[in-house]
């Protein structure tokens, strides 16, 4: 029922022209410059989308932003000047990848620090095994499917301690 209603509403809104008429994008520049345009457009966020880049979004606003990138590239602006043009309007929000400076270092280095911290904790937890245990482990390891090795309970100091407790 809901699906029918949604489809009807969509059909109705399309029929009554509630959409932005598509306009063709400006012509691509020469290959070398167009490659620069595309690289820049991948870095910039489309102003009316949720997390899509200017290069990936089919929206009319993204097309207009792409036009602007082309215009600035043809005007001989450097990549930095072009990015600054958009940052001056939309703030750092417009950059899909935050700049590696100031507080943003937290975003860049946070995951690395967390992984390193985790590794450190794991290595700390893995205490070296006592020599006797290494030997029995090596003997048991080659055939994990074979019946458990003969009990080494007598050698285990913990089990001995438990037994003593129980016998008391």
């Amino acid at each position: 029922m809901n699906a029918v209603l949604v489809s009807l509403t969509l059909a109705l809104s399309l029929a009554t022209g509630q959409f932005a008429p598509q306009q063709a994008a400006s012509d691509p520049l020469a290959p070398a410059r167009e490659a620069r345009v595309q690289v820049l457009a991948k870095k910039l966020r489309c102003a009316v989308c949720q997390g899509l880049s200017v290069a990936d979004s089919p929206s009319s606003m993204a097309r207009a932003q792409l036009d602007k990138v082309r215009e600035l590239v043809s005007a001989g602006k450097t990549d930095e000047e072009i990015v600054d043009y958009f940052v001056a309007r939309y703030g750092e929000w417009v950059l899909l990848e935050p700049r590696a400076e100031g507080f943003n270092w937290f975003v860049w280095l946070g995951p690395v620090v967390l992984v390193l911290g985790g590794l450190f904790v794991i290595l700390r937890q893995r205490q070296p095994l006592p020599e006797g245990a290494v030997a029995t482990e090596a003997a048991a390891a080659p055939s994990p499917s074979s019946p458990p090795a003969p009990s080494t309970d007598d050698a285990d100091p913990y089990l001995q301690a438990v037994r003593r407790e129980l016998e008391r």
Partner: protein, 186 residues
């Protein structure tokens, strides 16, 4: 001695995480930042809707300006239009009201105005050059530009009469001096 170290490390990580989440949840993810407040309005040269002589920003300077970006396909623009019509009639002496058609065809825009009323001049923003220059992030958006050509701010979404009247009134008052300017004047 060592026992408190791991909880302390966890506490630091949790505090950092909380801080990041607080910063993230503290703002509306749909809100696009606007950085042009307080800077000079970017120049434009646009054709008026329906033909005529090109309109330049420099022609309009000297008077406060209310600049509204809209489109006929935009639902909220329909609710907003009567408010702007009222504003242009009531406050046309205090500020120039100007509409800018965003990503729309001339026919659609003219049809919209025939039905909804056309009390103030409209410009066609071909290929949305002006919209990108002004940092538009959707329609409707209303920009308030003072007589010196400085953008005082913008209103995102359909505007209501109270806000419109208050913002137009602010335009005729001197800009709140920024701290740098105040320091220089001293």
């Amino acid at each position: 001695m060592k026992r408190w170290r791991i909880p302390a490390a966890f506490a630091v990580v949790a505090a950092a995480l909380l801080f990041v989440l607080f910063k993230g949840f503290g703002r509306d993810p749909h809100e696009v930042p606007f950085m042009l407040k307080g800077s000079p309005a970017p120049a434009f040269v646009l054709k008026p809707l329906g033909g005529g002589q090109d309109v330049k920003l420099s022609d309009l300077q000297g008077r406060p300006m209310v600049l509204n970006f809209w489109a006929s396909w935009c639902g909220p623009c329909k609710y907003e239009h009567p408010v702007l019509e009222w504003g242009a009639r009531e406050m046309g002496s205090q500020a120039v009201f100007m509409g800018v058609v965003f990503e729309d065809t001339e026919d659609n825009a003219l049809d919209f105005l025939r039905r909804m009323g056309a009390s103030f001049p409209q410009l066609m923003d071909e290929r949305s050059r002006m919209a990108v220059d002004y940092g538009v992030a959707g329609v409707p958006e209303t920009y308030f530009i003072d007589a010196q050509g400085t953008i005082r701010g913008k209103h995102v979404g359909p505007i209501d009469p109270q806000t419109l009247a208050a913002r137009v009134k602010e335009l005729s008052q001197p800009a709140p001096a920024s701290t740098a300017e105040a320091a220089r004047q001293r």
